[in-house]
Subunit: 190 residues, 2 copies
């Protein structure tokens, strides 16, 4: 999506270690107008798919998912991170964090996901797909249907997108970074 | 606000220890339409106050603040919780969590708050006001102005609201729970 690519070029910063910092508009400060444009795009892509729930993960996914929820006029559920305090009333799984080099629990209370749900999964970044695979696992534990995945920025040079598509999931990333270079501060999009 | 009180009565659950569980619409599953009604109310209350930034804290405040950001047409900044990794480029402070019985750091990167900012602070709950006082502290470190605070549900039987109002802050809570009782599952609003 041209507009998102432009914002990344204008406002993103490349840090060492393939880190793309976009916290001026996506995951610390939130440019709500831009988030609306992104949600509009996912709506266009998925509007005929009977989405009746949006699922994301705290914290960075919440803003995007909330605005998408408004567009689709459906409830949003965000998975909580942390210890698995009450397994009985939750769908839970373990997600590996590459940035923190450790596993963490994510969970959704059972009453908020059911076999009637047609779910769109939303997140800000797709790199190794750990978080999205964790969310898919929670949706499947509820016997709900994953219609597709909406990602703001996919790091195309990391394996997450290919892993999900190879498994047959529809992934709609609004910008796919093909390569990025810290020294020259340049980004190429797919 | 009548509508929020009705939703609390209909969908809230009182747990032991003065816990009011509203995660079916406010802080796990998000009823985006209801959140819009809440943001509309804050907009009516603060629309003449030249708000140019909304500040909240991850994770439960993000959805409300995002929709409020859309209504006010201003950026949203959410404070991050966790360790104080980089004090040089952040405004940081410590907040005491009564529910977890420990201190935690919150921080906002300096580039996202400045002395030009007229800030509305948004959060889902107000009980002891630890989080809001922490956010006020960050805003003051930036020499920005706190115009007021917008709260979804204030626990009127806990001291937070009184503490903030005694300090001269304008606090607009959409529902103020005066008393609640676990045995009878009854709630009275102020």
């Amino acid at each position: 999506m041209k507009r998102i690519e432009e914002e990344i070029l204008k406002r993103g910063k490349i840090l060492p270690g393939n880190v793309l910092k976009v916290n001026s508009f996506l995951n610390h400060q939130l440019d709500t107008k831009l988030l609306c444009i992104m949600a509009d795009e996912w709506y266009e892509l998925y509007k005929n798919d009977n989405i009746n729930k949006i699922v994301t993960i705290e914290a960075s996914g919440i803003a995007l998912a909330t605005i998408a929820g408004l567009k689709f006029n459906v409830p949003v559920v965000f998975a909580k991170k942390g210890v698995n305090l009450n397994a009985d009333n939750c769908f839970s799984t373990t997600v590996y964090s590459y940035s923190k080099n450790r596993d963490y629990f994510i969970s959704i209370e059972k009453e908020f996901l059911s076999s009637d749900d047609n779910v769109l999964i939303i997140d800000d970044f797709l790199a190794n797909a750990s978080a999205v695979l964790g969310l898919i696992s929670l949706v499947k534990k509820a016997k709900a249907n994953v219609v597709g995945v909406g990602i703001a920025i996919e790091k195309g040079f990391q394996p997450g997108g290919a892993i999900l598509r190879r498994k047959g999931y529809r992934v709609e990333s609004l910008a796919i970074v093909e390569t990025m270079d810290y020294e020259s501060q340049t980004i190429k999009f797919r």
